[in-house]
């Protein structure tokens, strides 16, 4: 019998933390990393008698996300209570949107090997985050920190339109880029400001009906997502091949063991007993309000890329790479505004910056050096006061510690020696010390010239301009 071929069917539920200053229903700070329970009040700890009041900015961020993903807007929308008992949820219900989510029926376009593909968005809704539970293996209790309780989230639910982990990562990249461009969220997976649940099923190729799906949680990086997809696909195919059935359940991915485990906590939509939250008046979005948000949308990546190609004459490839990160694009424009040559700025960002980011496993948002310092480095290198190799060294220092390149070059005496008399003296010395090599060169062995340049550079401790050294050597041999 021929081995059966299977197709993976994936839909995503993505939670992004919205970048508001205060929480969704109270005036507590959303700042990450405060001491436990220092950002709490009666509303976000679910005290009886407290009254939630909606943060207007949350609605506007949600609309901005909706417009940029071609969604329809529910101009009459409202909040519902999702009822469940767990200590991270102090009200015993989460305020979310169930019946009338703010956005629905949109799409995001991704690049695949077969060309462009639309991933449909089923809906996006606003909701509040829960608190954080802390467990200690040795104790028989858990501790709760409610700083995160009430931080605004947007849940983005896709249709099951993805077929591989590449498509999933591509979709998440686009989504993250959009949120960052809009300033709606910083989408950091590690810090939990972007959380991804993967709904996955498999079916035999060419079959129309979907298989039974599972939902996977606890995916903290793009790599973990890719591994979880591969692992869960394999597990489900293995079950089917052995004539068994996939059970619809929520599973927790263990990235260390590269396996998912069924979670004990089972849930069914109707068990949440959703009903409209009577504490929160409905939201009516007028045409005027929608228009004003639409009009205030910032320049998004495709327009920015086109503008870089047109105004800064960057090649398409360069413009695409720099604009892929809002942070990199901002750094580029700020440095150019300070007088940096666009092509040179782009080169430093694309080559050295990306190399160091990769080496340190960092994201563009973690870049420490300022546009002022990058502009200075370019000036220093352009004026020829340091050569290329040293400029790269200085850049590395700047990347690590944001040193001022001018000051650094001066302090470490890295400036190239332009004084011809000093250089002449060194060249003369090198020629004398290597008279045999000089002889070979005169006899037509052109290769040894590089060796002589190298010797001079070594004597100069790298602080010479190689072109200048070459010219002098030719003159003096």
């Amino acid at each position: 019998m021929m081995a059966r071929e299977y197709e993976t069917v994936i839909g995503l539920e993505v939670h992004v933390e919205l970048a508001t200053k205060s929480k969704i229903f109270c005036g507590c700070s959303t700042e990450f990393g405060g001491a436990p329970n220092t950002h709490t009040c009666p509303v976000c700890t679910g005290m009886p008698g407290s009254l939630p009041v909606l943060n207007k900015q949350v609605v506007e961020y949600a609309m901005a996300m909706g417009f940029s993903t071609h969604c329809q807007i529910n101009q009459n929308c409202k909040f519902d209570r999702k009822n469940y008992f767990y200590p991270d949820n102090p009200q015993n219900y989460q305020i979310s949107q169930f019946y009338l989510p703010i956005c629905y029926d949109g799409w995001i376009e991704i690049e695949t090997k077969e060309g462009r593909k639309k991933i449909r968005i089923h809906e996006m809704h606003m909701e509040e985050d829960s608190g954080k539970l802390l467990h200690n293996e040795w104790e028989d209790f858990s501790l709760v920190d409610y700083n995160r309780s009430g931080v605004p989230l947007m849940e983005i639910v896709s249709e099951p339109d993805m077929r591989s982990s590449e498509e999933v990562i591509n979709y998440l990249d686009r989504l993250r880029m959009l949120a960052q461009y809009l300033g709606v969220s910083d989408c950091k997976l590690q810090e939990g400001s972007m959380r991804v649940d993967v709904n996955l099923s498999v079916r035999e190729k060419k079959r129309k009906i979907f298989g039974t799906r599972t939902e996977m949680k606890n995916l903290n990086s793009f790599k973990a997502i890719a591994r979880a997809i591969a692992g869960e696909r394999e597990r489900q195919i293995d079950l089917l091949e052995r004539g068994r059935q996939v059970v619809q359940e929520t599973r927790r991915w263990d990235d260390m063991k590269e396996y998912s485990y069924a979670m004990r906590f089972k849930e069914d939509t109707k068990d949440y007993r959703y009903f409209p939250d009577p504490d929160l008046p409905s939201v009516m979005i007028s045409d005027e309000w929608m228009e004003s948000i639409r009009a205030s949308l910032p320049e998004l990546q495709p327009e920015k890329q086109a503008r870089y190609e047109r105004d800064f004459r960057l090649p398409t490839y360069d413009a695409a790479i720099i604009t892929a990160s809002k942070h990199l694009a901002d750094l580029f424009e700020q440095t150019v505004a300070l007088g940096g040559n666009p092509k040179k700025v782009s080169n430093w960002l694309m080559v050295e910056t990306l190399r160091l980011l990769k080496k340190h496993g960092e994201e563009p948002e973690q870049i420490r050096f300022s546009p002022e310092h990058l502009a200075k480095l370019i000036t220093v290198a352009e004026q020829g006061s340091v050569n290329n190799r040293i400029a790269k060294e200085v850049f590395e220092k700047m990347y690590e510690e944001d040193v001022d390149p001018e000051v650094y070059v001066k302090e470490h005496e890295l400036t190239s020696v332009h004084d011809a008399s000093v250089l002449k003296e060194v060249v003369k010395q090198v020629l004398e010390n290597n008279f045999k090599v000089v002889e070979e060169y005169r006899n037509g062995k052109a290769k040894v010239f590089c060796f002589l340049v190298g010797q001079v550079m070594k004597e100069m401790q790298g602080k010479a301009n190689p072109t200048m050294v070459g010219e002098l050597l030719r003159k003096m041999i």
Binding site: S22, G27, N37, T38, V53, N55, K56, E139, D271
Partner: protein, 97 residues
């Protein structure tokens, strides 16, 4: 009687709401819930095809606050409500998935 409320449903719903219901209470609760469901059945008989759906019950909308931090650190006061606390956090029975 389209929706028949059984003892099993009362147990199920009671469990979701984390309620302990005694046998006497169970019978009364079952009757009450049946009355509600029967009333809904009556409403379902009405022809509402030409009626605009009412999506919200109160005549109030768009009550917002601006995105401004107005609360400071009120930890001590807040934790005073906790049955138990430890290291500035709420102490609860162990919950591990």
């Amino acid at each position: 009687m389209v929706n028949k409320i059984t003892d099993e449903i009362i147990d199920y719903v009671g469990n979701l709401a984390k309620l302990k219901i005694s046998d006497d209470e169970k019978e009364q609760t079952r009757k009450d819930m049946q009355t509600i469901m029967d009333y809904i059945d009556i409403l379902n008989e009405l022809d509402t095809r030409k009626v605009e759906p009412m999506f919200y019950i109160f005549p109030v909308h768009n009550v917002f606050r601006e995105d401004v931090i107005t609360n400071g650190d009120d930890k001590a006061h807040m934790l005073a409500n906790a049955p138990k606390q430890k290291d500035g956090q709420y102490q609860v029975p162990k919950t591990v998935e």
